[in-house]
């Protein structure tokens, strides 16, 4: 047992511990503690990933040396390690990128609370990634819900509060449905550890018993997790919540929180229900169709937006649609494509939200298009980040977006039939619409104010003329984000490799 195998458990524990410590520490100290903790966790998970890349196999880690079926288990493989490291890195970068806004949005007194929420949020995400026990998953799902709402709510603004309440309620509905499904599964199989449940389910399927309850369980689990990961039509809470939150919160929510639930869903499909049954399950059709609708509806709604953060939020709905489309195709190639999109979208969307924060800063705090005209010139880092983000979203080769679309289409082509046709049509439509609204944003953001008439008010124009003071930390974060995006884009075949190998040892 190599020492690095302890990383999953210890990451979770360290984060929890530091979260509690932040409660009592003063502001600057808690900030430093949070940064260090997250950095440490990130390093640890990267080490774990390297360990797997050197050829190790997935392993099961029992908590406290109590064996199954009574103890708790973690399971780590290449895919989990990759996802965990990515989550940690992005959390760190989001915090760095949105730090300036924390000061202004949240207020000095409550900044600790924010760090606590963030640390617990990351802890719950890692737990969801690594856990092998269904009930633990539920517990951390709840923690995730609460902390996610927490980071939205911490910006005390009327609009934000309303949005976060909506988010909270819908999220709880989702968790509730998830809990019901766990109950059904427990009732039917008698176990809570994923591997045990899988055996039970396989047996039941073979015998043809309890078909209806199992179907209901799968349905409820699907809906519950879809509610939390913003599959259309369950996504109506997303635009408000993500757009009204502070910059780093939006980045984390859009980039990471949604993905953690998707990861959980995939994990449940692979390890609870089992690949054999999932291959031809009807729920995949539903996920595919709703994913496609999400792709299209998300982009269509984004077209008409005049508020940059809402536009990014709707764009997220569209991109989540891609993921569900990939899962819904039913092949391992499809799931691989979905995972790639998870990685790429996490990086890109987080970067875009941080950059949006920067643009808002350079425009006197407003999010509306008419006010952020030309902001790309005032805050060049945000401008470049937007360009990189746009190129990635549009699907230009050498940026991450290309490989996701490519792998998704390839997966679709091999499936054939109506799924193939529908997916490809949806991808094309959605890409075209995405291109349109992102390029529109670029045009607005880069407009030279002297040459074009603008609708911004006089007051705002005065604001613009003020020298924009950019945070060094923010600049640094943006640069790192850009480097991360480019790396993922250029090394996309490595990424594919990691994901495919990871998936093969996943189930």
């Amino acid at each position: 047992m190599s020492p690095v195998q302890n990383v999953p458990a210890f990451s979770i524990l360290i984060l929890m511990l530091c979260g509690i410590l932040c409660l009592v520490l003063p502001r600057t100290a808690s900030r430093r503690l949070a940064d260090c903790a997250i950095a440490l966790v990130a390093a640890g998970n990267i080490a774990l990933l390297l360990y797997f890349l050197r050829g190790a196999d997935a392993y099961i880690y029992s908590m406290g040396e109590i064996g199954a079926p009574f103890g708790n288990e973690l399971r780590a493989g290449m895919l989990e390690a990759a996802v965990a490291s990515l989550f940690s890195i992005i959390t760190l970068l989001s915090l760095m990128g949105g730090r300036a806004h924390l000061r202004s949005d949240i207020g000095r007194q409550k900044v600790n609370l924010y760090y606590i929420s963030t640390l617990f949020l990351l802890c719950s995400m890692l737990a969801l990634v690594y856990t092998n026990d269904l009930f633990t998953a539920y517990v951390f799902v709840e923690i995730n819900t609460i902390t996610a709402c927490g980071i939205v709510m911490s910006k005390e603004d009327g609009y934000t509060l309303a949005a976060s309440m909506r988010y909270f309620i819908m999220s709880l509905v989702g968790s509730g449905l998830f809990l019901i499904s766990i109950c059904i599964l427990y009732a039917v199989t008698g176990h809570l550890l994923m591997s045990n449940i899988q055996e039970g389910v396989a047996q039941l399927y073979a015998q043809g018993q309890y078909r209806a309850p199992l179907q209901v369980a799968i349905a409820l689990m699907g809906v519950g997790l879809s509610l939390k990961s913003a599959l259309w039509p369950f996504s109506s809470w997303l635009p408000d919540a993500h757009s009204s939150a502070s910059a780093s919160s939006s980045a984390m929510l859009s980039g990471l929180v949604l993905k953690s639930f998707i990861f959980l869903m995939v994990k449940i499909f692979y390890r609870v229900i089992g690949v054999g049954i999932m291959r031809s399950h009807a729920v995949l059709d539903l996920l595919l169709v709703f994913g496609i609708l999400g792709m299209v509806m998300g982009s269509v709604n984004a077209l008409f937006e005049r508020d940059i953060k809402r536009l990014l939020a709707y764009s997220s709905i569209g991109q989540i649609g891609y993921i569900f489309c990939g899962i819904g195709l039913g092949t391992s190639a499809g799931v691989a494509a979905a995972m790639v999109q998870v990685a790429v979208h996490a990086c890109t969307k987080a970067m875009l939200f941080c950059a949006a924060g920067g643009l808002m800063d350079a425009s006197g705090g407003s999010k509306k298009f008419r006010d952020i005209e030309g902001a790309g010139r005032r805050d060049p880092y945000a401008g470049v980040a937007f360009i990189v983000g746009t190129l990635s979203m549009v699907g230009i080769p050498f940026f991450g977006g290309f490989i996701t679309k490519l792998s998704l289409v390839q997966a679709a082509v091999t499936v054939g039939g109506w799924r193939n046709l529908l997916s490809i049509l949806a991808i094309i439509t959605s890409t075209i619409l995405t291109a349109i609204y992102y390029i529109n944003v670029l045009a607005i953001v880069f407009r030279a104010p002297e040459t074009a008439p603008t609708k911004a008010s006089e007051k705002l124009r005065e604001e613009w003329k003020k020298q924009v003071r950019l945070d060094t930390e923010y600049e640094f974060a943006i640069i790192l984000f850009i480097i991360l995006n480019l790396t993922i884009g250029l090394q996309s075949d490595r990424l594919m490799q990691i994901i495919t190998t990871g998936l093969s040892m996943f189930g």
Binding site: I396, T414, I439, A448, T451, S492, D493
Partner: protein
């Protein structure tokens, strides 16, 4: 294509490859020569531009991408180069910085990217149903895999060709051309019209002959539909040019029409017609570049943009107008200037291919368009040289030397290639034959 060099492997089956074959070499030579002449021209014209540095940067980068496109050995590389070329040539269009040029650049970008996305569709299917990623004359489709799926493949072929045709100004995706070419500075208009449209033609050539193969496509509804689209464009472009007063827009519409001559030949899928198409690629590039240089010279020295303002200008700018006239005659298709031979081969190829109705309708539309070409180009020269007694004559002076140099070289080429057409014709015949 043999000896493809792999630059980068993205993943299994996806790589960036370059190779050179006859077709690519021809396009590369054409690009290079035109770029050099345009650069010489632009070195003087830049005094009229608002942002010369930006212009030259993207001018060079676009050439790089075009060269890469000519040498692209597989679909993915070709698509990549196509996309980048669009992105890199767009700043040339909005060099002026006026609202109009920004809107025009946006239109260019939208149409081109939309077209390229449609073109990408063909890639997925060719990758799946094809035997080789690299282009092979005669098509790469695997007969066993495609059996029964011809319908789908024909649809995708049609969509991809129409998509790449956006860059070549094929109806219905031609609308960016008459908007973008006039607002760009003259050297940019010249290369956009003369060379970049041919990039679209090259992509279509590759798809038709080296991905799907002429045998697969000829005789199908795809061929008929494409020829109809090409003929519509030929007619429409000339007709719109006939009534247009803004000189550069007139030339832009003329490009729409003339490039579809080439596409007509490509879609007819007959060696003679393809020969005519390839010859017209060269001829049209030379002629259109010279015409745009002339228009640019008029704008540069005399600040006049509309044809109606140019009465008697020929007497003040004899060399410019002389080159303009020679190239106009070539474009109309008057022997012995370059331009006649390509029409000859296009028409005889079409007639000998024997498609119902289209075989004679095609040449008829081409000749109608030639008539309209005479109608919109000759009056410029005539009113320039012979304004008529008592008519108000325009004030002006001759263009500077460097600009004249480029124009003279091209006009001389028009005459020489027209008279001594055999060498070029032989080379093109070989290449055309090699595509089947």
């Amino acid at each position: 294509m043999t000896n493809a060099v792999t630059l980068l492997t993205i993943s299994d089956g996806l790589s960036i490859q370059f190779a050179s074959d006859g077709l690519g070499r021809i396009f590369l030579c054409l690009d290079t020569v035109m770029w050099i002449l345009a650069a010489i021209y632009a070195s003087k014209y830049k005094e009229h531009m608002k942002k010369p540095k930006q212009f030259f940067v993207f001018f060079g980068l676009t050439y790089l991408m075009l060269a890469a496109l000519s040498m692209a050995a597989n679909y993915l590389t070709m698509y990549l180069c196509f996309e980048f070329m669009t992105l890199l040539s767009m700043p040339m269009v909005l060099n002026d910085g006026t609202m109009e040029s920004i809107a025009a650049a946006r239109k260019y970008l939208m149409y081109s990217i939309f077209g390229a996305t449609l073109g990408l569709l063909g890639f997925f299917f060719s990758a799946y149903y094809g035997t080789s990623a690299v282009f092979v004359s005669g098509g790469v489709l695997d007969a066993a895999k495609t059996a029964g799926k011809e319908g789908t493949l024909l649809v995708t072929a049609f969509i991809s060709i129409v998509g790449f045709g956006a860059k070549a100004g094929l109806f219905p995706l031609h609308a960016w051309l008459p908007t973008a070419h006039p607002v760009a500075p003259a050297p940019a208009s010249a290369v956009l019209s003369g060379v970049i449209t041919k990039a679209g033609v090259l992509c279509i050539l590759r798809i038709v002959y080296q991905v799907y193969g002429a045998a697969f496509l000829s005789g199908t509804w795809v061929q008929t539909a494409l020829i109809v689209l090409a003929l519509i464009t030929v007619f429409m472009g000339s007709m719109m040019a006939y009534g247009e007063d803004l000189l550069k827009k007139r030339l832009a519409y003329s490009t729409v029409s003339q490039v579809s001559y080439v596409l007509f030949g490509v879609f007819t899928m007959n060696p003679a017609a393809v020969l005519g198409a390839l010859l017209h690629v060269v001829y049209h590039s030379i002629i259109k570049d010279c015409l745009f240089f002339g228009a640019g010279a008029v704008i540069f020295t005399n600040h006049k943009e509309y044809v109606s303002q140019l009465r008697g200008m020929g007497k003040k700018m004899p060399v410019t107008y002389g080159c303009f006239t020679i190239c106009s005659l070539g474009l109309i298709g008057i022997p012995p200037f370059a331009g006649f031979l390509s029409k000859w081969y296009l028409a005889t190829g079409s007639l000998s291919e024997g498609l119902p109705v289209l075989s004679w309708l095609g040449p008829a539309v081409l000749l109608l368009s030639a008539l309209l070409t005479a109608g919109y180009l000759l009056p410029i020269s005539i009113q320039g040289f012979f304004p008529g007694e008592g008519e108000k004559e325009a004030e002006g002076k001759e263009a500077p030397g460097r600009m004249l140099f480029s124009m003279l070289v091209l006009a001389a080429a028009t005459v020489l290639l027209g008279i001594f057409a055999q060498p070029l014709s032989d080379v093109m015949q070989q290449i055309a034959g090699g595509l089947f």
